[in-house]
Symmetry: none
């Protein structure tokens, strides 16, 4: 039984509002042993004041020791068990570029590659061609017509692009064409199940046309396709929580993911303050807001400890814009850790803060990893944040008499 | 889905090394209320220095309130859920005496018992005969021949021994012969499934011959057999973690268990220092080392609080031998608690320390039960120690994009 089955019969419709503020990659590590993390270093008087009347804890996004990608990490925050709710690579790539993936569409990750005179792959990334070159070649491939199917070829970055097929009876149950090693020809796509044979024929037709269109190009004279996947068709926020949800995010990946869960993705400016002002503008239209701040993660990936501290302080300074709205439940967290010293996503638990009228409160606590670990909320799986929020918002009836 | 299914697609081959140092029965209790435990009492400057740059937590071996035997406790430490990976009693008894149990062997726990003139059991342990008497009687039973099956009768202690059958098509799916109460005759063995009928016939043949051979002995004139079980055939460390694993342990039980999981069991001297020097000698040959120190548990079982403190201090003083090897991940833990005041294994969580370059660090902590409970690692099931170690060792790829 997952959370949803337990929650469903308990859901109540109330006027209360929940605001989930995600600072991407928030969790960190000390610069040197015995030192402070990025969040512990940051001056965060507004967050600390929230902690005093709230509760602190640390969340595990996936499982101990496991480093999450952004997709699974966000699903977990939204209460969708990331081991159960899996988004195929192709669908995630399409979401990541903001493509409006339909329920019946099949998406795949595409690479431009280089093949020699025998058709054997000599460079799986075609020398990482420039974005402009990738875009031009995608336009070339967009000429391809396959009977009964609408074809979209969308550039991603450098040699990477996304293929989306739209039509009836399509399936993602296909093998990939990447031979995995150099010196071999790209593989034809094979259907893993009978129902996928039609789609396999469609894709192989597409590949044959692409080979012809690209044969005189250099260095990108062939394609590889991987990660065929359909729109995952997850239940929406409305269905599982009865929430009218809005998303405020700038990057396509997070906007796509929110859209996938049925959230209303709002137009917004890119700065933290502009994102917060978008919430203010639409405050009366929804009872759940997801707000995504990307720069904490970017600074962590860049190894910029001070830069990450600065972004956190910027969020803190803008926070009164949100607290002035008096959300019934305000949650501050990250989707995962991206310690500046590690320069990558990591497995470390994420410092998490929930403020509502119904918290035990943290006397003299600072919002930071170690105070969170000792906080009254303790440690928990990230997928329990949503039920906790619903409870604090009075949106769950008593279980049993 | 267990840990293994989640981890398998993420495993990376790297040069990093993990060292798991298990002080058997490490967890303890204060000598008097409000006092310090054995580990808290011990002077452990080297362990405390590791904690400062590492992370502390407490691990639950099986489940709250449940006291583990050594087998399940170690399986849990090795990441094998002890409720799922069950080693039959007979197989565990054979491992415990260092018997090299084969894949197809069936093992059982044997007792010498006393029966009266009607063949009714009057003492299920034959007055706990001395070890020498048990050994002599085992030699007597070793004469027994059963067609098509090789029979091993191995003394364990006092009235206890192990029966191992080696042959084709053997099964452990058998009932036991112990009637459970006095005044009844031993039961014949019955097959729980059709495939086990052959083995039931073999065992009943063995029992009939044993009755004949022992009839003039006093007080041990009959046998009882329990816990029939085959070699469990668990997946190995190489299969589940991609690790080339070595075990440094002195006692047969731990050597047998390590061997069962495909670890290379190294020849070693018996003292803590000799065990650590064995690690040094073979450091370049493996990327995972399990080192087992037994005396902490022995002192606990003996109720020797000061003795246990002394063993912990001995381990601490030898620890620089291991830290000088610069393992990428060094874990100190116990398999369970054996408080000297309790004089037995117990259910209490186990103080656990992990040191790597990627820990949040414990400012001014002492390695001990209460600091561990407040540590940044928090509380966790012992079976999550291995995934945590793999994460810190950079041996796990990101989950999802």
């Amino acid at each position: 039984m997952n959370n949803f089955d337990t929650l469903k019969p308990l859901l109540l419709q109330t006027d209360t509002k929940i605001l989930l503020l995600v600072m991407d990659g928030l969790g960190g590590l000390p610069r040197e042993a015995g030192g402070l993390t990025e969040l512990e270093t940051a001056r965060t008087p507004n967050m600390d004041a929230l902690a005093a009347r709230g509760q602190l804890g640390v969340s595990t996004p996936i499982a101990p020791g496991i480093t999450p990608g952004s997709g699974p990490a966000h699903l977990s925050l939204f209460g969708y068990d990331p081991l159960q709710f899996v988004i195929g690579r192709g669908a995630l790539e399409a979401l990541g570029i903001g493509f409006d993936l339909g329920d019946q569409d099949v998406a795949a990750r595409g690479n431009f590659c280089t093949v020699d005179a025998h058709g054997h792959v000599t460079d799986r990334r075609a020398g990482r061609i420039r974005d402009e070159e990738g875009k031009r070649l995608c336009q070339t491939l967009s000429q391809i017509k396959v009977a009964g199917v609408q074809v979209f070829v969308e550039p991603v970055k450098e040699h990477r692009w996304a293929l989306i097929l739209r039509g009836e009876n399509l399936s993602g149950d296909l093998s990939e064409t990447d031979p995995g090693v150099l010196g071999r020809p790209p593989l034809p796509v094979q259907a893993h199940s009978k129902v996928a044979q039609h789609t396999a024929d469609v894709v192989n037709d597409f590949i044959a046309q692409a080979r012809e269109l690209l044969k005189d190009e250099r260095p990108a004279n062939m394609i590889l396709l991987r990660g065929f996947a359909k729109h995952p068709g997850f239940p929406t926020f409305d269905q599982v929580y009865g929430l009218k949800a809005a998303a405020v995010a700038v990057y396509p990946m997070y906007r796509g993911l929110a859209s996938l869960l049925g959230m209303n993705v709002l137009d917004t400016g890119a700065s933290v303050e502009e994102e917060f002002r978008t919430v203010i503008k639409r405050w009366n239209d929804f009872n759940f807001f997801y707000v995504h701040v990307k720069k904490t993660d970017t600074m962590g990936e860049d190894g910029n400890f001070d830069g990450k501290v600065h972004v956190i302080e910027e969020v803190d300074s803008c926070l009164p814009l949100l607290t002035a709205l008096k959300p019934d439940v305000l949650i501050l967290t990250g989707d995962h850790s991206t310690p500046a010293t590690y320069q990558s996503h990591s497995w470390h638990p994420v410092p998490t803060l929930l403020a509502s009228a119904w918290c035990r409160g943290e006397a003299s606590a600072k919002y930071g990893e170690r105070d969170c670990r000792r906080g009254v909320w303790g440690e928990f799986h990230a997928s329990s944040i949503m039920p906790e929020a619903l409870g604090h918002a009075g949106k769950l009836a008593r279980y049993g008499a």
